[in-house]
Chain length 283, copies 2
């Protein structure tokens, strides 16, 4: 049976580290603060926001909620972001996307200062991931995959890693971070021919396919470490990932569960980035 | 015997297209102009500069040489770049690197305006490659590989591509461009285990290993298309690439020669970017 790479201990370790950092920042008068900017009332956003607020509270990070109506103008959103850029009491800004369709996503996201871009949405944050500079922050979900691999001591040096998905939120940044850790990295996507065969070759699999249980036993091989980024709610109300967990459990060496895997660590990475941003201000 | 993917016809096609574009720009009073900034007298730089000037002349692009002494200060170089940013008659700037060791490479390269960064050295140009936006320009060498594949009608959709090397000049941007063309892309590097086996799996190989003839027959397989980015001068004065050309010719489906392959196309891509930059000013 595969080892289950639960998110909880990773979160606990990050919480402990962050609580200590926050305390030390507060002792010099800095209260690490996250602004959450939400346009409209999308349920997914509200759920994520609730989780982020709870996690922030846990370690002493302040949260400032900024809510804009679902039909707000692009300029109103831009000006909100500019105000937050100029607000020295705010260290990180989380902006929920996708934005309403009538907005210019490139213009809006690049309004945010990279130093407050704790979820890696600006071009300069993404360049940081690509180039390996220290500008901005990596997208939290991609980094959560790396935190899990790191926490469980999974060696990446010279290992074959396969990333399923080529998004800017997971696939591409995860590929860059894996290359940075000396893995040999293959990026698969919807146009990949015989994806099961490609995936079976991976010693580490990071799966962000966006389809429930799409990775069945044909994609899996003994000894693999599988990081499942997918989160889906099935009609019966139960949750699952992109990986068929039951199949994986009988085949691979280690696998993250859904729920209780990558998702929960993502929120902690968000908090970590806010604390890092506050530390940079302090230094 | 493998098909030899010579650079010359690619260059000829690009030259023809560029000459036409330049003529049309000149007819509205715009003279596409490249500034070449060179610090010191490194031989490689001088050779590349000579080639670039010749290619520019061929299609009617003006060149402005800016030469700084090998011991010039970082601030002097920065101020030179700022002047070029502000000079509306200059459309593209080529800055030779590596810079002298006492300079802050990140600071210097990011001084350049992305819209004049025709060799993809700024963070915003590189973000453009990573994100897929239209900011700045891709590194010319990486794009030269893609131009060759395109010119010779090599289909990338769903194909397995292997990139050897993870630099910002070739490996990483080439990987991103291949993913953009729907290839399944693997990035190899010095830490890759059993690189020959990984390379043999590729239907397309882009090789930027930086070592003469390192890719011998053990790395190659029938039917492959091999793009060789390496350029080395051997002790007898002859030139070779990273691929053992004689071995490749008997095994693979198609291979670029050295000299006369990627290198020559790179210069044309540089010119193309200058013309594109001038066209953006015109529109």
């Amino acid at each position: 049976m595969a080892e289950i790479l639960k998110g909880a201990p990773v979160v606990a370790a990050l919480n402990e580290e962050m609580a200590r950092e926050v305390e030390s920042l507060k002792s010099i008068g800095i209260v690490p603060t996250l602004a959450i900017v939400r346009v409209g009332e999308r349920e997914d956003d509200i759920a994520y926001e609730r989780g982020a607020m709870k996690r922030c509270e846990k370690v002493g990070v302040e949260v400032k909620q900024v809510l804009l109506p679902g039909d707000c103008s692009e300029d109103a959103l831009i000006s909100t972001l500019q105000d937050l850029n100029n607000n020295s009491k705010v260290h990180g800004v989380l902006l929920f996307r996708p934005l309403p369709k009538y907005m210019d996503d490139d213009r809006v996201r690049n309004t945010l200062s990279p130093e407050k871009d704790i979820d890696g949405i600006t071009d300069l944050s993404l360049a940081g991931v690509f180039v390996g500079t220290n500008t901005g922050y990596a997208p939290c979900t991609a980094q959560a995959c790396m935190e899990i691999l790191d926490y469980y001591g999974i060696d990446l040096n010279g290992k074959k890693a396969v990333v399923v998905g080529r998004s800017l939120v997971v696939g591409k940044p995860a590929a860059m971070m894996l290359i940075g850790k000396n893995a040999t990295v293959t990026v698969c996507h919807t146009r990949t021919v015989d994806m099961p065969a490609v995936c079976r070759e991976g010693e580490i699999l990071i799966v962000s396919a966006g389809r429930p249980k799409i990775m069945d036993k044909s994609y899996l091989a003994p000894g693999q470490t599988v990081i499942d980024v997918g989160i889906h709610v099935l009609v019966d109300g139960s949750m699952c990932g992109d990986v068929d967990f039951d199949a994986a459990e009988g085949i691979v060496g280690a696998v993250t569960p859904v729920p209780g895997g990558v998702g929960t660590v993502t929120t902690s990475v968000l908090v970590k980035h806010v604390v890092q941003a506050a530390k940079k201000v302090a230094s």
